[in-house]
Amino acid sequence: MLEVRGLHAAVNGVEVLRGVDLTVLPGETHAIMGPNGSGKSTLAYVLCGKPGYEVTAGSASFLGQDLLAMPVEERARAGLFLSFQAPGEIHGVRTDHFLRAGYNEVRKARGEAEANVLDFDRLLKTKAKMLDVTERQTKRFVNEGFSGGERKRNEILQMAVLEPKLAILDEVDSGLDVDAMRGVAEAVNTLRTPERALLLVTHYHRVLAYIVPDKVHVLVNGRFAAEGGKEFALEIEAKGYDWLAQRAG
C-alpha cells in the first residue's frame, strides 16, 4: 500500500528526514515513536504533500501511484488521511459543511455521485453517534473553541466519514486524559478494517495497548533507528530514546 524508500526532506532548508524507509501493507497498523523533534510530524506532512516540505531525495508510492508527484488534494482523494497533531480553526465554516465538501470530493474522485445535504447529514449523524460526537458539535465552526479532546475526536470523525485507505494519526492520544484517550482509541479501533492501514504516531505505550500495532518503528534524527513488534513500545517507554540515538550515531 505504502512504499517509502530513502526519503530525505528539508524544511526551510534544514534537512529533517534523512533516509526513511517504510513499507505498509493493507490492514497493517504501524506505530511510529521517537523523541520530540525527530521528524515524525514532518514525515506525516511530507507524505501528505504539505507545501514548504521539500523532498530532496527518495521516493514514495501509494497504491502503486507516485505519491510525491500528486498534489495534496489528490493524495487525500486517493485515500490518504492525516489526523493532525494540532488541527487548526476555520472561522465561520461549520464542521458538517466542511466535511461534506471533502466527502463529495472524495466521492467524485471515486466516480461516485455527490451526496446531497440530506443523505450526508444522515451519514454524519450515524458516524457521529458511533464516535460519541454530539450533533451540536458537528454544527460548530471547524475546531473553533474545541477542547483538545474534542479536536482529536473531531479528526477521527472526519476519518470515519472519509473512509481512507491509509490513515496517519499524529499523536491522536496526546493531551488527553486517560478516559478520553481510551475513548478516542476505541473510536479508532471501530474504524480498523482488514484493508485499512494505520500509521500511528505516538509518544506513549498506553495507546498501543488499545490500538495494537503490527510493528513499532522508532524515528531518531530523521531516520528509523530501530523497529520491533508490539512489545517494543513498552521497552522504549521504559528505556527512553538515548540509547537508540547513541546507537544511531
Binding site: P51, E73, F84, I90, A101, Y103, E105, L162
Partner: protein, 485 residues
C-alpha cells in the same frame, strides 16, 4: 447580442459575467448638466411643479458646490476629476407605447433581467419575492403589486409614486438625506431618475421580500436612482437591491440616495448585493459608486438594519447610516466589501445615537486582494441625551496577496458618559495551515480559499435571505477568481 470576438479588455475581466450590453433603441436627455436638463427630466416624467422646484433647488446647490470645488476629498480613494458635463443624466429604452403591462416590455429587456437571474415574468418569478426592475433611468416593471396591495403595501417605481402618492413622497423626500447633505446627494436630488418607493402601513408585516434590481445598460450615462422606504408604526419589511453594468473602458457614475424611515417599533431590513462593473485588472473602466444611504429610527424601539455585500465598482464611497432618534431604537450595519485588482472601497457607517438606551452594532468584513485598497470608515456618535447608549463595533480585514491594503478609520464621539462602547478589530491572512488542512480533506486549493473566505464573511452572509446569501457568496468567489492562489 453581438457575437464578435472578445476584446482584450473583456478577456482581462472575464470573471465579470454581467458585462454584456442589451441592444435597445434608447431615448436620452441632452448630455451635460444644466437647468434645462433638470427641467427636461421633470417634464419627461410629467412631474408636478413642487417636484421640479425641489430639483431646481438641489441643482442650484450642486452648482454652488461644484464652483467651490467641494466634492468630497477625505475618502481614501483616487480618481481623475469627473466631468459632469460629459455625462448623460437620463437614458431609457424607447417605449413602444406607455407601458401598461409586461407584454409591452421589450423582449430584450425581459431577457436581460432573466439572464441576470431576475425573472420578471409571472410564471418564472422567485417565490416570496416582489421585484422592481430598473433599466438605466426607468423602472421596467414591478411585480406582485396586487398581492402587496391586499396588505396595503405600496411597492412601485419612484416615478409612479410621485404621480400616485404625491403626499407621501412630498412629506418624506429629503427628510432623512436633504439635498444639502453632501455633494453627490445634491447631484442626485437634481437629476434623479427612477428607483423604488415602499410604504408599509401601520401594523403590517410585509408578506414578501421586496427587491429592486438596477441595471446600467447605456454607455456614457450615469444612474441616479432614489429609493424611499417608509415603515409605519409596528410594521416590518425586508428589502433587497442588486445591480450590475456592462464592461466599458470609461468610468460610469452611479450616485444614488436611499432614505429609510422607521416609525415606532417598525423594522426595516435593507440588503444590498452590489456588483457594478469593477473595471479591468489595470483599473480601466468601472463604475464610480457614490451613494448616500441613511435611515431614521423615528420612533421608540424602531430598528433599521443595513446589510451590504459590495463586490463590484471601481470605487465604492458609501456609508449607510442610522439616526437613532427613538428611545431604545436599534441600528445595525453588516458589511462585506471586496477590493481586488485596482478596486478602491471606502465604506462604513455612521451610527448617530440621539435617543436613550439606543443600541448599534457594526460588523465590517473587508477583503483586499491584488492591488485593492479597502478602507472601513465609521462614526459612532453618542449625543448628550443618549443616556445608556451602546455600540459594538467589529472590523475584520482579510488580506490576500502582498500588494493589497486594508485601513480602518473608526471615529468615536461620546457626549454622554453613561454610554458603553466596544470596539474590536483584526487583520488576518488566509493561512497556509488552513488551506493545507482543507486540501488534506480533498478540497482543491481554490475551494479551500473560497471556503475560508466564506467563513470570514459568515456573520454578514447569514443576515441575507437564503437565495441572496448564496448569490452573494457566488459573486464574491467569481470576483476573486484569479486573485487568489
Amino acid at each position: 447580442m453581438t457575437t464578435t470576438g472578445k476584446t482584450a479588455q473583456e478577456f482581462a475581466a472575464q470573471e465579470y459575467k454581467y458585462g454584456w450590453t442589451t441592444p435597445v433603441e434608447q431615448e436620452t436627455a441632452p448630455p451635460g448638466l444644466s437647468e434645462d436638463v433638470v427641467r427636461w427630466i421633470a417634464a419627461r416624467k410629467d412631474e408636478p411643479e413642487w417636484m421640479l422646484e425641489w430639483r431646481l433647488r438641489a441643482y442650484r446647490h450642486f452648482v454652488k458646490l461644484l464652483e467651490e470645488e467641494r466634492s468630497p476629498t477625505w475618502a481614501k480613494v483616487h480618481h481623475p476629476p469627473i466631468d459632469y458635463q460629459s455625462i448623460v443624466y437620463w437614458t431609457a429604452p424607447k417605449a413602444k407605447a406607455e407601458l401598461e403591462s409586461l407584454d409591452q416590455v421589450d423582449k430584450e429587456i425581459l431577457e436581460t433581467f432573466e439572464k441576470l437571474g431576475i425573472p420578471i415574468e409571472e410564471q418564472k418569478r422567485l417565490a416570496g419575492v416582489a421585484v422592481d426592475a430598473v433599466f438605466d433611468s426607468v423602472s421596467i416593471a414591478t411585480t406582485a403589486k396586487e398581492t402587496l396591495a391586499k396588505h396595503g403595501v405600496i411597492f412601485s417605481s419612484f416615478s409612479e409614486a410621485i404621480q400616485e402618492h404625491p403626499e407621501l413622497v412630498r412629506k418624506h423626500l429629503g427628510s432623512v438625506v436633504p439635498y444639502t447633505d453632501n455633494f453627490y446627494a445634491a447631484l442626485n436630488s437634481a437629476v434623479f431618475s427612477d428607483g423604488s418607493f415602499v410604504y408599509i402601513p401601520k401594523g403590517v408585516r410585509c408578506p414578501l421580500e421586496l427587491s429592486t434590481y438596477f441595471r446600467i445598460n447605456a454607455a456614457g450615462s450615469g444612474q441616479f436612482e432614489r429609493t424611499l422606504i417608509i415603515a409605519e408604526e409596528a410594521s416590518y419589511v425586508s428589502y433587497l437591491e442588486g445591480c450590475s453594468a456592462p464592461m466599458r473602458d470609461e468610468n460610469q457614475l452611479h450616485a444614488a440616495v436611499v432614505e429609510l424611515i422607521a416609525q415606532e417599533r417598525a423594522e426595516i431590513k435593507y440588503s444590498t448585493v452590489q456588483n457594478w462593473y469593477p473595471g479591468d485588472e489595470d483599473g480601466k473602466g468601472g463604475v464610480y459608486n457614490f451613494v448616500t444611504k441613511r435611515g431614521a429610527c423615528r420612533g421608540a424601539r424602531a430598528k433599521i438594519s443595513w446589510t451590504q455585500v459590495e463586490t463590484g465598482s471601481a470605487i465604492t464611497w458609501k456609508y449607510p447610516s442610522v439616526l437613532l432618534q427613538g428611545d431604545e431604537s436599534v441600528g445595525e450595519f453588516y458589511s462585506v466589501a471586496l477590493a481586488k485588482a485596482r478596486q478602491q472601497a471606502d465604506t462604513g457607517t455612521k451610527m448617530i445615537h440621539l435617543g436613550k438606551n439606543t443600541t448599534s452594532t457594526i460588523i465590517s468584513k473587508g477583503i483586499s486582494a491584488g492591488h485593492g485598497s479597502n478602507t472601513y470608515r465609521g462614526l459612532v456618535q453618542i449625543m448628550p441625551n443618549a443616556a445608556g447608549a451602546k455600540n459594538y463595533t467589529q472590523c475584520d480585514s482579510l488580506l490576500i496577496g502582498d500588494a493589497s491594503a486594508a485601513h480602518t478609520v473608526p471615529y468615536l464621539e461620546v457626549r454622554n458618559n453613561s454610554a458603553s462602547i466596544q470596539h474590536e478589530a483584526s487583520t488576518s491572512k488566509v493561512s497556509d495551515e488552513q488551506v493545507f488542512y482543507c486540501r488534506q480533506r480533498g478540497l482543491s486549493e481554490e475551494n479551500a480559499q473560497s471556503l475560508i473566505i466564506n467563513g470570514f464573511c459568515k456573520e454578514v452572509f447569514k443576515r441575507l435571505p437564503m437565495e441572496f446569501a448564496v448569490e452573494a457568496d457566488r459573486l464574491l468567489q467569481v470576483n476573486l477568481e484569479g486573485a487568489i492562489g
